[in-house]
Symmetry: D2
Subunit: 137 residues, 4 copies
């Protein structure tokens, strides 16, 4: 999967990313992919992945999809306005693979969609979102 | 806040709950409240709470709100179908307080709404969801 | 209900408004109300109001709620980014009453929530939305 | 487009369908398409199609997508639980073309996604929804 990710673009994991254990495996114009191993600490009251884990991944891949620049020195930052998630099926595999895609928008806002499959191909969740760009710090 | 929660209803924290550190502080018919201290490990790429943390809390309080029975021996279980989250403002305090409320539905599905404020009263996020009941295991 | 609406703020009905028959009955800062008689031409395949009618009203009241200025010469215009609707119950009355409320945002975007009841008080639908301001034409 | 629609499956237009003027142009397992000419009476306060028109079409095509049976004597009926709509761009053409697709679910509920383009291919809106099956009357 090296074609999907320029190593120069990999940032240090931020705090929640380290705490949950997901990592970027693809980032190209208008598109991003993250993967999350299904660790025991992600499970809900029923022993299956908590819906919030799906939402976390969907939000993440859509935000990155809309903020690709290809230049680590020139970062584009996005804030989520709204995030909608549908929960379709529970995973049968060991890993969640989330992909996000920018589907529209302009200079101030953008729209994205996303999905999560496990490594066996089971479609587990879908997401859509509206985002706002903000100035880099 | 003891009037809001019968201690007999407090369940052992499940896996993600322990990992993130949120806990129940209120549960009554059609209503639930959880609280989440703003620990450093919850932060995103920009150093503010990750949107997925809000989604996790909103999903949790709405699910509990619709599944109250008042009887630990007779649990009602719910599965999230859809979760919609709006991100309104960043917190200024040290703690997120999430409340969920069942607002409609019947025997097979229910609807809920929710909000997150910090302990200073700042409205940080709103959520809505549709849920399906399932048989207790 | 005259306290809720300054007659000077009532605009001519726009095209879809005339075609469906809804009208404004309240407009104050961060809040708006419209009413829609349940005419036969609003019904779906099952003889009940089409979900799109609820969505039309929810979108309308939230847009107006966020664009109140109190000055007909100084109009604020909003574009819907995302609209989420939950369908809770079918109406038992003859009229839909939709209310929208701005709940957050800033100068470029705003968030709103809304609900539809019939004149008997039945809660039929809930909505949330994110909007973007645009320049007046 | 005759391959997309068995004429035996075309139902009489229901009330709102006649009032707005949209019609079915495709219906196959897990998929449906409707088209809506951009008549002047569909326009909003700004002279562009009202968001509720998009929501009406998205709701319609997703409901039909999930309720295909191929047998006019054996109808499957669906009720919308939640409908989420994103508004991406205004149309440049004369006609809205809405397509819906069932993407998951089981015997009691289903999930669908949808999009609206004009006849020039401009992507105008996206929708997702959760639905519940109900018994035929």
């Amino acid at each position: 999967m090296t074609d999907d990710l320029d190593p120069a673009l990999i940032e240090d994991a931020y705090a929640l990313q380290s705490h949950l254990g997901f990592r970027i495996t693809g980032w190209k114009p208008d598109w991003a992919r993250f993967e999350q191993p299904l660790e025991p600490y992600l499970m809900n009251r029923y022993g299956i992945p908590h819906g919030g884990i799906y939402a976390t991944l969907l939000d993440t891949v859509m935000g990155f999809a809309g903020c690709y620049t290809g230049d680590p020195e020139n970062r584009l930052l996005g804030m989520t306005l709204t995030l909608n998630t549908s929960f379709l099926a529970r995973p049968e595999g060991m890993r969640l693979i989330a992909e996000g895609r920018r589907i529209g928008g302009g200079r101030s806002t953008f729209f994205a969609e996303s999905e999560i499959r496990d490594e066996l191909g089971t479609l587990c969740a879908r997401g859509t979102g509206a985002f706002r760009y903000r100035k880099a710090s």
